[in-house]
């Protein structure tokens, strides 16, 4: 395991280093910035040093970019985290059901629903949901993170926790407002990963169900629940861990779209604004932050997957 971990971290470091070249090149696009006048390699080594100290530079208005990132990045993380949990909680049970009853009626229904959910363009679904829940029924808010009536102090950057920590007399109302604003964006963002997890889980469970040890468990007379919890889950879950990291990267794509529709003050919308203003320093910072987040999540899920799945671990060392 130690050598595997070292290998992974090496890969992570190399990829990050390659990314810094991209970030530095974006920074040099602005002809007026001092970076454009340095020689490439010298400027790059200087740039990496600055990144190491978490100094992302100044944006077009002359404020440090890191202050912006500290505000917008947690907003995205909150959205992504809640949607991901939602996707796991819906996706794993339904995927398991579909996989257990492969070819039956309920499998066809679940598969068809998950395929149409996957085929619908995300921004369109978001607009339809806004049309129905916000404009027709007037149940849920259209955009933003909470009503501006409430003043929620920035502590952790996660609106739920911040609202919970605030000590105003309207704490309960503020929390309710935050939750109401979360519903639609989270549902929209959870749609694609849920369908993906259903499909991955279905394939994984279907694979396990054909194995002889499941038949042996049946012959032993174990109940259905025992078979599922002790044999199916134990063998079907570990192979899907590494793919969860890949899911996260496509979720970032979807999060940028969701944020722009729901006016969610996250890093995606901020990045799009920076792009429209041609604020290259901000674009550079946004790209670096998002990419390193995705990379680390990927490496982590890979390590976790290998750690929890002895088969892969042994195979890796055998192939060495």
């Amino acid at each position: 395991m130690f050598r595997y971990t070292i290998r992974r971290f090496n890969l992570f470091a190399i990829t990050l280093l390659m990314l810094t070249f991209v970030g530095f090149s974006i920074l040099r696009l602005d002809a007026e910035s001092p970076w454009a006048h340095l020689s490439y390699l010298q400027g790059w080594s200087h740039y990496v040093q600055e990144l190491w100290n978490l100094n992302f530079g100044l944006n077009k208005q002359g404020y440090p970019i890191i202050d912006d990132i500290v505000v917008v990045f947690p907003a995205t993380l909150e959205l992504v985290f809640i949607s991901f949990m939602l996707a796991l909680f819906i996706g794993i049970p339904f995927g398991t059901i579909a996989g257990m009853r492969q070819g039956k009626m309920i499998d066809t229904i679940i598969s068809f629903i998950s395929m149409s959910g996957y085929s619908a363009p995300l921004f369109w679904v978001a607009l339809l949901l806004i049309m129905f829940f916000s404009l027709d029924l007037e149940l849920l808010p259209v955009s933003g993170r909470y009503d501006l009536l409430y003043e929620i102090k920035h502590v952790t950057g996660f609106a739920i926790i911040d609202a919970f920590l605030s000590d105003h007399h309207y704490k309960a109302e503020a929390l309710q407002s935050v939750l109401e604003h979360l519903v639609l964006p989270c549902l929209v963002l959870a749609l694609a990963p849920t369908t993906q997890i259903v499909q991955i889980m279905r394939a994984s469970v279907a694979e396990v169900m054909t194995q002889n040890y499941i038949r042996a468990a049946r012959i032993k007379g174990l109940s259905k629940r025992e078979i599922i919890t002790e044999h199916v889950f134990r063998n079907a879950l570990p192979p899907i861990f590494p793919t969860l990291g890949v899911q996260l990267s496509s979720m970032i794509t979807f999060a940028i779209i969701t944020e722009s529709i729901f006016n969610w003050p996250g890093i995606g919308r901020w990045l799009l604004n920076a792009l429209a203003n041609q604020d290259y320093a901000s674009i550079q910072a946004g790209v670096m932050v998002v990419a390193s987040f995705v990379l680390s999540a990927n490496i982590l899920s890979d390590l976790l997957g290998t750690l929890s799945n002895p088969l892969v671990r042994k195979e890796w060392y055998v192939n060495q």
Binding site: L11, M115, Y118, P121, L127
Partner: protein, 295 residues
Amino acid sequence: MLTNSIYQEEHIPTQFERFAKSYRSNSLAMFGMWCLILVVLITLTAQWIAPHDPNLQTGHLLVPPSWATEGSIEYFLGTDDLGRDILSRILTGSQYTFGASILVTIVAGLIGSSIGILAGMTRGLLSSTLNHLLDTVMSIPSLLLAIIFVAFLGFGEFNIMLAIGLALIPRFIRSIYTAIHAELEKDYIMAARLDGANDLYLLLNSVFPNILAIIAAEVTMALTLAIMDITALGFLGLGAQAPSTEWGAILGDSVELIYLAPWTVTLPGLAIMFTVIVINLVGEGIRQALNAGVE
């Protein structure tokens, strides 16, 4: 099948005939294929079958679709806030959305498959490095890549297509590489090799027919992703720009009309969803038919 012939079989069906027979028996896939042919025909002939000029401002603003009481047959799917005919816009938009994604997929598929084949047929340092490196490159979100491309090259559908293609290539390399590697380990390949087959022969006659199903699945996936990304970027205003009839751009144009004229938002979205579902039905059908003898 009932015949008068007393001999068991006069004609052994070829691989393609077996595939076609199996595909035809799947009614959902056949439905998907006819719809896909329709979409392709529309894409090829859009300029001639569109009833109006897609960018002509007719002066009839926000006419609802023909099935609404105030609608007219003249503008079958209604008009938008500038009085442009929505049916014509959606028809011509198929070229910028569906046509463009097919182009991107073909180019990315060709490049990715050739690298994947090269890496798959060799082994050792190169292929193991490739394997791990691709995993990491694949983890960069496609929209982030598109943002980087826009920062360098500026807004526009062509630049977006480059970014999407670049995001698709690693997927192709990865899946083809894995498929070939898994196939090469099997015994029948060893048998063919002992018969004296060289690498090229092995690839074309032994490996390739057996990984067709994986290629079909990958192409379907890539096409879906390409459509999703092109429309999403058009919607965000990074890709196709405002007067363009790209489906995502149409949607992005009419977001502010969502309350006043919902059909301007729902109809282009339905077009996107229909196309993607049809592609997936056909892809799934092809995969099942190819696997029919194996599974």
